[in-house]
Protein backbone atom coordinates (compact mmCIF):
# COMPACT_ATOMS: atom_id res chain seq x y z
CA UNK A 1 0.00 0.00 0.00
CA UNK A 2 2.75 2.43 0.84
CA UNK A 3 5.34 3.48 -1.64
CA UNK A 4 7.77 4.47 1.05
CA UNK A 5 9.80 1.65 2.66
CA UNK A 6 9.60 1.32 6.45
CA UNK A 7 13.17 2.23 7.24
CA UNK A 8 13.99 3.63 10.65
CA UNK A 9 14.69 7.06 9.25
CA UNK A 10 11.48 7.15 7.20
CA UNK A 11 9.34 6.18 10.17
CA UNK A 12 10.82 8.73 12.57
CA UNK A 13 10.66 11.46 9.97
CA UNK A 14 7.05 10.76 8.94
CA UNK A 15 5.82 10.60 12.52
CA UNK A 16 7.63 13.83 13.28
CA UNK A 17 6.11 15.65 10.30
CA UNK A 18 2.59 14.42 11.03
CA UNK A 19 2.79 15.25 14.73
CA UNK A 20 4.29 18.62 13.89
CA UNK A 21 1.48 19.60 11.53
CA UNK A 22 -1.20 18.24 13.85
CA UNK A 23 0.09 20.20 16.80
CA UNK A 24 0.43 23.33 14.67
CA UNK A 25 -3.18 22.95 13.51
CA UNK A 26 -4.38 22.32 17.07
CA UNK A 27 -2.47 25.32 18.40
CA UNK A 28 -4.03 27.50 15.73
CA UNK A 29 -7.57 26.29 16.46
CA UNK A 30 -6.97 26.63 20.20
CA UNK A 31 -5.89 30.27 19.80
CA UNK A 32 -8.88 30.89 17.55
CA UNK A 33 -11.42 29.43 19.98
CA UNK A 34 -9.81 30.57 23.25
CA UNK A 35 -11.64 33.90 23.28
CA UNK A 36 -15.11 32.58 22.42
CA UNK A 37 -14.74 29.69 24.92
CA UNK A 38 -13.72 32.04 27.75
CA UNK A 39 -16.57 34.39 26.87
CA UNK A 40 -19.10 31.56 26.74
CA UNK A 41 -17.91 30.18 30.09
CA UNK A 42 -18.19 33.61 31.71
CA UNK A 43 -21.65 34.17 30.27
CA UNK A 44 -22.71 30.76 31.52
CA UNK A 45 -21.49 31.69 35.00
CA UNK A 46 -23.34 35.02 35.00
CA UNK A 47 -26.51 33.29 33.80
CA UNK A 48 -26.18 30.69 36.54
CA UNK A 49 -25.79 33.41 39.19
CA UNK A 50 -28.78 35.35 37.84
CA UNK A 51 -30.85 32.21 37.96
CA UNK A 52 -30.14 31.19 41.54
CA UNK A 53 -30.37 34.46 43.48
CA UNK A 54 -33.07 37.18 43.59
CA UNK A 55 -32.66 40.21 41.30
CA UNK A 56 -29.55 42.27 42.03
CA UNK A 57 -27.87 45.40 40.67
CA UNK A 58 -24.19 44.94 41.52
CA UNK A 59 -21.60 42.84 39.71
CA UNK A 60 -21.16 39.67 41.81
CA UNK A 61 -18.21 38.58 39.66
CA UNK A 62 -16.22 41.57 40.89
CA UNK A 63 -17.02 41.04 44.55
CA UNK A 64 -16.22 37.35 44.52
CA UNK A 65 -14.44 35.86 47.53
CA UNK A 66 -12.87 32.46 47.84
CA UNK A 67 -13.08 30.00 50.70
CA UNK A 68 -10.74 27.05 50.89
CA UNK A 69 -12.35 23.84 52.08
CA UNK A 70 -11.02 20.32 52.53
CA UNK A 71 -10.56 19.35 48.89
CA UNK A 72 -10.73 22.58 46.91
CA UNK A 73 -12.01 26.13 46.72
CA UNK A 74 -15.56 27.48 46.87
CA UNK A 75 -16.41 30.74 45.17
CA UNK A 76 -18.90 33.08 46.82
CA UNK A 77 -20.66 35.61 44.61
CA UNK A 78 -22.55 38.12 46.77
CA UNK A 79 -25.61 39.58 45.04
CA UNK A 80 -26.62 43.01 46.31
CA UNK A 81 -29.46 45.36 45.59
CA UNK A 82 -28.87 48.97 46.61
CA UNK A 83 -25.90 47.77 48.69
CA UNK A 84 -28.06 45.38 50.64
CA UNK A 85 -27.21 41.68 50.44
CA UNK A 86 -30.13 39.84 48.81
CA UNK A 87 -28.41 36.50 48.35
CA UNK A 88 -25.17 34.70 47.72
CA UNK A 89 -24.43 32.40 44.82
CA UNK A 90 -21.97 29.73 45.92
CA UNK A 91 -20.08 27.81 43.29
CA UNK A 92 -19.55 24.46 44.91
CA UNK A 93 -18.29 21.09 43.80
CA UNK A 94 -18.15 17.43 44.69
CA UNK A 95 -15.81 14.67 43.67
CA UNK A 96 -18.26 11.96 44.65
CA UNK A 97 -20.09 12.00 41.32
CA UNK A 98 -20.52 8.88 39.26
CA UNK A 99 -18.18 10.18 36.57
CA UNK A 100 -15.94 13.07 37.49
CA UNK A 101 -16.44 16.32 39.34
CA UNK A 102 -19.86 17.93 39.57
CA UNK A 103 -20.01 21.73 39.89
CA UNK A 104 -23.14 23.41 41.16
CA UNK A 105 -24.22 27.00 41.65
CA UNK A 106 -26.21 27.16 44.87
CA UNK A 107 -28.21 30.32 45.55
CA UNK A 108 -28.52 31.07 49.27
CA UNK A 109 -30.66 33.75 50.84
CA UNK A 110 -29.03 35.80 53.65
CA UNK A 111 -30.58 33.54 56.32
CA UNK A 112 -29.04 30.42 54.76
CA UNK A 113 -32.20 29.20 53.01
CA UNK A 114 -31.58 27.58 49.64
CA UNK A 115 -33.14 29.68 46.90
CA UNK A 116 -32.33 27.64 43.80
CA UNK A 117 -29.65 25.31 42.51
CA UNK A 118 -28.34 24.92 38.97
CA UNK A 119 -25.77 22.51 37.63
CA UNK A 120 -22.73 24.26 36.15
CA UNK A 121 -20.77 21.21 35.12
CA UNK A 122 -21.58 17.50 35.32
CA UNK A 123 -20.63 14.41 33.40
CA UNK A 124 -23.19 12.06 34.90
CA UNK A 125 -24.70 9.22 32.87
CA UNK A 126 -27.15 10.60 30.28
CA UNK A 127 -30.68 9.45 31.01
CA UNK A 128 -29.87 8.60 34.62
CA UNK A 129 -27.49 10.74 36.67
CA UNK A 130 -27.98 13.78 34.44
CA UNK A 131 -31.44 14.15 35.93
CA UNK A 132 -29.75 16.31 38.58
CA UNK A 133 -30.06 19.06 35.93
CA UNK A 134 -33.19 21.10 36.41
CA UNK A 135 -34.19 20.87 32.74
CA UNK A 136 -34.13 17.06 32.87
CA UNK A 137 -36.16 16.37 36.02
CA UNK A 138 -37.65 17.92 39.13
CA UNK A 139 -34.93 16.50 41.39
CA UNK A 140 -33.12 19.80 42.03
CA UNK A 141 -36.41 21.65 42.55
CA UNK A 142 -37.11 19.85 45.84
CA UNK A 143 -34.30 21.92 47.39
CA UNK A 144 -35.99 25.25 46.60
CA UNK A 145 -36.85 27.39 49.65
CA UNK A 146 -35.60 24.73 52.05
CA UNK A 147 -33.53 25.66 55.07
CA UNK A 148 -30.71 23.20 55.73
CA UNK A 149 -31.26 23.51 59.51
CA UNK A 150 -34.55 21.59 59.16
CA UNK A 151 -34.17 20.01 55.72
CA UNK A 152 -31.69 17.15 56.02
CA UNK A 153 -29.36 17.31 53.02
CA UNK A 154 -29.10 13.56 52.60
CA UNK A 155 -31.02 11.07 50.50
CA UNK A 156 -33.81 9.19 52.25
CA UNK A 157 -31.83 5.94 52.11
CA UNK A 158 -29.21 7.61 54.34
CA UNK A 159 -31.79 9.03 56.71
CA UNK A 160 -32.16 12.46 55.14
CA UNK A 161 -35.09 14.26 53.52
CA UNK A 162 -34.06 14.21 49.86
CA UNK A 163 -35.88 12.04 47.32
CA UNK A 164 -33.10 10.40 45.32
CA UNK A 165 -33.31 9.92 41.55
CA UNK A 166 -34.37 6.38 40.73
CA UNK A 167 -31.34 4.25 39.78
CA UNK A 168 -28.99 7.20 40.33
CA UNK A 169 -28.39 7.19 44.06
CA UNK A 170 -24.69 7.94 43.63
CA UNK A 171 -25.40 11.09 41.62
CA UNK A 172 -28.08 12.14 44.12
CA UNK A 173 -25.69 11.62 47.04
CA UNK A 174 -23.00 13.60 45.25
CA UNK A 175 -25.47 16.43 44.62
CA UNK A 176 -26.33 16.52 48.34
CA UNK A 177 -22.65 16.44 49.21
CA UNK A 178 -21.97 19.52 47.08
CA UNK A 179 -24.96 21.41 48.50
CA UNK A 180 -23.98 20.50 52.06
CA UNK A 181 -20.47 21.83 51.45
CA UNK A 182 -21.89 25.12 50.20
CA UNK A 183 -24.32 25.53 53.10
CA UNK A 184 -21.80 24.63 55.79
CA UNK A 185 -19.11 27.01 54.62
CA UNK A 186 -21.74 29.73 54.14
CA UNK A 187 -22.71 29.27 57.79
CA UNK A 188 -19.07 29.51 58.85
CA UNK A 189 -18.65 32.68 56.81
CA UNK A 190 -21.70 34.21 58.49
CA UNK A 191 -20.22 33.64 61.94
CA UNK A 192 -17.03 35.49 61.08
Amino acid sequence: MSKKPSTFFNMVWTLFIISFFSSAALGFVYELTKGPIAKATLEKKIRAIQEVVPAFDNNPLEEVYKVDVDAGTLFFYPAKKQDKLVGTAVETFTTKGFSGTIKLMVGLLPDGTINKIVVVEAHETPGLGDKIKSEKSNFSKQFMSKNPSVFMLKVKKDGGSVDAITAATISSRAFCDAVTRACQSYKKELKK
Binding site: S2, L15, I18, H123, L128, A167
Partner: protein, 195 residues
Amino acid sequence: MSPWQNFIKGFIKENPVFVLVLGTCPTLAVTTSVANAIGMGLSTTFVLVTSNIAIAALKDFIPDKVRIPCFIVVIASFVTIVDLVMAGFFQVIHSQLGIFIPLIVVNCIVLGRAEAYAAKNSLLPSAIDGLSMGLGFTFALLILSTVREALGEGSFLGHKFIHSDGILFFILAPGAFIVFGYVIAIINRLNRCKK
Protein backbone atom coordinates in the same frame (compact mmCIF):
# COMPACT_ATOMS: atom_id res chain seq x y z
CA MET B 1 -18.57 -0.08 -7.15
CA SER B 2 -20.41 3.02 -8.28
CA PRO B 3 -20.33 6.11 -6.03
CA TRP B 4 -24.01 5.60 -5.24
CA GLN B 5 -23.48 1.97 -4.22
CA ASN B 6 -20.48 3.10 -2.20
CA PHE B 7 -22.69 5.64 -0.43
CA ILE B 8 -25.66 3.39 0.22
CA LYS B 9 -23.70 0.43 1.59
CA GLY B 10 -23.24 1.97 5.04
CA PHE B 11 -26.94 1.93 5.86
CA ILE B 12 -27.87 -1.75 5.71
CA LYS B 13 -25.42 -3.90 3.75
CA GLU B 14 -22.26 -2.87 5.58
CA ASN B 15 -23.74 -0.94 8.46
CA PRO B 16 -20.80 -0.28 10.81
CA VAL B 17 -22.78 -1.07 13.93
CA PHE B 18 -25.17 -3.83 12.91
CA VAL B 19 -23.13 -5.76 10.35
CA LEU B 20 -19.49 -4.95 11.03
CA VAL B 21 -20.27 -4.67 14.79
CA LEU B 22 -17.74 -1.87 15.29
CA GLY B 23 -18.01 1.00 17.75
CA THR B 24 -20.32 -0.91 20.06
CA CYS B 25 -19.13 0.89 23.17
CA PRO B 26 -20.28 4.42 22.20
CA THR B 27 -23.35 2.90 20.57
CA LEU B 28 -24.53 1.35 23.80
CA ALA B 29 -23.48 4.37 25.87
CA VAL B 30 -25.08 7.27 23.96
CA THR B 31 -28.33 5.72 22.78
CA THR B 32 -30.18 6.60 25.98
CA SER B 33 -31.80 9.53 24.18
CA VAL B 34 -32.47 10.46 20.56
CA ALA B 35 -30.91 13.91 20.87
CA ASN B 36 -27.61 12.46 22.07
CA ALA B 37 -27.66 9.89 19.29
CA ILE B 38 -28.08 12.54 16.58
CA GLY B 39 -25.31 14.74 17.98
CA MET B 40 -22.91 11.85 18.41
CA GLY B 41 -23.73 10.45 14.97
CA LEU B 42 -23.19 13.73 13.15
CA SER B 43 -19.94 14.58 14.93
CA THR B 44 -18.62 11.09 14.17
CA THR B 45 -19.64 11.55 10.54
CA PHE B 46 -17.67 14.79 10.35
CA VAL B 47 -14.58 13.15 11.84
CA LEU B 48 -14.94 10.11 9.57
CA VAL B 49 -15.16 12.21 6.40
CA THR B 50 -12.27 14.53 7.28
CA SER B 51 -9.98 11.79 8.58
CA ASN B 52 -10.71 9.57 5.57
CA ILE B 53 -9.84 12.44 3.22
CA ALA B 54 -6.66 13.25 5.13
CA ILE B 55 -5.53 9.64 5.26
CA ALA B 56 -6.33 8.97 1.60
CA ALA B 57 -4.22 12.01 0.73
CA LEU B 58 -1.33 11.00 3.00
CA LYS B 59 -1.32 7.26 2.31
CA ASP B 60 1.71 7.24 0.02
CA PHE B 61 3.66 9.35 2.45
CA ILE B 62 3.21 7.06 5.47
CA PRO B 63 5.48 3.99 5.86
CA ASP B 64 3.58 0.77 6.52
CA LYS B 65 4.97 0.02 9.96
CA VAL B 66 3.96 3.33 11.57
CA ARG B 67 0.61 3.73 9.84
CA ILE B 68 -1.53 3.10 12.95
CA PRO B 69 0.18 5.79 15.11
CA CYS B 70 -0.04 8.21 12.18
CA PHE B 71 -3.76 7.50 11.67
CA ILE B 72 -4.44 7.95 15.38
CA VAL B 73 -2.64 11.31 15.46
CA VAL B 74 -4.65 12.53 12.47
CA ILE B 75 -7.96 11.31 13.92
CA ALA B 76 -7.25 12.69 17.41
CA SER B 77 -6.40 16.09 15.89
CA PHE B 78 -9.70 16.27 14.04
CA VAL B 79 -11.64 15.21 17.12
CA THR B 80 -9.94 17.88 19.23
CA ILE B 81 -10.69 20.49 16.56
CA VAL B 82 -14.38 19.49 16.60
CA ASP B 83 -14.36 19.67 20.41
CA LEU B 84 -12.78 23.14 20.53
CA VAL B 85 -14.91 24.61 17.76
CA MET B 86 -18.08 23.29 19.37
CA ALA B 87 -17.08 24.63 22.79
CA GLY B 88 -16.37 28.05 21.30
CA PHE B 89 -19.22 28.56 18.89
CA PHE B 90 -21.94 26.04 19.68
CA GLN B 91 -22.03 26.17 23.47
CA VAL B 92 -25.52 24.67 23.75
CA ILE B 93 -24.74 21.53 21.74
CA HIS B 94 -21.39 21.23 23.45
CA SER B 95 -22.86 21.18 26.94
CA GLN B 96 -25.16 18.37 25.79
CA LEU B 97 -22.50 16.29 24.05
CA GLY B 98 -19.31 17.40 25.75
CA ILE B 99 -18.48 14.02 27.22
CA PHE B 100 -19.01 12.07 24.01
CA ILE B 101 -16.80 14.09 21.70
CA PRO B 102 -13.43 12.81 23.05
CA LEU B 103 -14.91 9.30 22.82
CA ILE B 104 -14.84 9.53 19.03
CA VAL B 105 -11.05 9.04 19.07
CA VAL B 106 -11.43 5.54 20.48
CA ASN B 107 -14.35 4.71 18.20
CA CYS B 108 -13.02 1.80 16.18
CA ILE B 109 -15.19 2.71 13.18
CA VAL B 110 -12.99 5.73 12.46
CA LEU B 111 -9.69 3.83 12.68
CA GLY B 112 -11.28 0.81 11.00
CA ARG B 113 -12.32 2.78 7.92
CA ALA B 114 -8.95 4.54 7.76
CA GLU B 115 -7.18 1.17 7.78
CA ALA B 116 -9.60 -0.84 5.66
CA TYR B 117 -10.67 1.74 3.09
CA ALA B 118 -8.97 5.13 3.03
CA ALA B 119 -5.47 3.62 3.10
CA LYS B 120 -6.22 1.67 -0.09
CA ASN B 121 -8.43 4.01 -2.09
CA SER B 122 -8.20 7.47 -3.60
CA LEU B 123 -9.59 10.68 -2.21
CA LEU B 124 -13.16 10.91 -3.49
CA PRO B 125 -14.23 7.30 -2.84
CA SER B 126 -12.72 7.59 0.64
CA ALA B 127 -14.74 10.73 1.34
CA ILE B 128 -17.92 8.98 0.16
CA ASP B 129 -17.03 5.95 2.27
CA GLY B 130 -16.60 8.17 5.34
CA LEU B 131 -19.94 9.85 4.70
CA SER B 132 -21.66 6.53 4.13
CA MET B 133 -20.24 4.93 7.27
CA GLY B 134 -20.90 8.03 9.35
CA LEU B 135 -24.52 8.30 8.26
CA GLY B 136 -24.92 4.54 8.69
CA PHE B 137 -23.64 4.93 12.24
CA THR B 138 -26.06 7.82 12.82
CA PHE B 139 -28.88 5.71 11.40
CA ALA B 140 -28.01 2.81 13.72
CA LEU B 141 -27.84 5.11 16.76
CA LEU B 142 -31.20 6.61 15.77
CA ILE B 143 -32.93 3.23 15.63
CA LEU B 144 -31.52 2.09 18.97
CA SER B 145 -32.14 5.37 20.76
CA THR B 146 -35.69 5.69 19.41
CA VAL B 147 -36.58 2.26 20.77
CA ARG B 148 -34.79 2.82 24.07
CA GLU B 149 -36.15 6.31 24.69
CA ALA B 150 -39.68 5.27 23.73
CA LEU B 151 -39.70 2.23 26.01
CA GLY B 152 -37.55 3.67 28.78
CA GLU B 153 -38.94 7.18 29.13
CA GLY B 154 -42.04 7.14 26.97
CA SER B 155 -40.75 10.05 24.93
CA PHE B 156 -39.22 10.99 21.58
CA LEU B 157 -36.58 13.74 21.41
CA GLY B 158 -37.59 14.70 24.94
CA HIS B 159 -41.31 15.09 24.09
CA LYS B 160 -43.29 12.78 26.30
CA PHE B 161 -46.08 10.81 24.65
CA ILE B 162 -46.75 8.48 27.58
CA HIS B 163 -47.22 10.22 30.90
CA SER B 164 -45.59 7.67 33.12
CA ASP B 165 -42.05 6.67 33.99
CA GLY B 166 -41.55 4.03 31.31
CA ILE B 167 -39.45 0.91 31.70
CA LEU B 168 -36.21 2.03 33.34
CA PHE B 169 -34.53 -1.22 32.28
CA PHE B 170 -34.22 0.01 28.69
CA ILE B 171 -32.29 3.11 29.72
CA LEU B 172 -29.79 0.96 31.63
CA ALA B 173 -27.00 -1.04 29.97
CA PRO B 174 -28.73 -4.46 29.87
CA GLY B 175 -31.64 -2.93 27.96
CA ALA B 176 -29.15 -1.56 25.44
CA PHE B 177 -27.73 -5.02 24.82
CA ILE B 178 -31.15 -6.56 24.38
CA VAL B 179 -32.41 -3.93 21.92
CA PHE B 180 -29.06 -4.15 20.10
CA GLY B 181 -29.38 -7.93 19.79
CA TYR B 182 -32.89 -7.77 18.39
CA VAL B 183 -32.01 -5.09 15.84
CA ILE B 184 -28.95 -7.10 14.68
CA ALA B 185 -31.20 -10.12 14.23
CA ILE B 186 -33.65 -8.11 12.12
CA ILE B 187 -30.88 -6.59 9.97
CA ASN B 188 -29.29 -10.02 9.43
CA ARG B 189 -32.65 -11.33 8.31
CA LEU B 190 -33.05 -8.40 5.89
CA ASN B 191 -29.59 -8.95 4.44
CA ARG B 192 -30.27 -12.66 3.97
CA CYS B 193 -33.55 -11.98 2.18
CA LYS B 194 -31.74 -9.77 -0.32
CA LYS B 195 -29.33 -12.58 -1.19
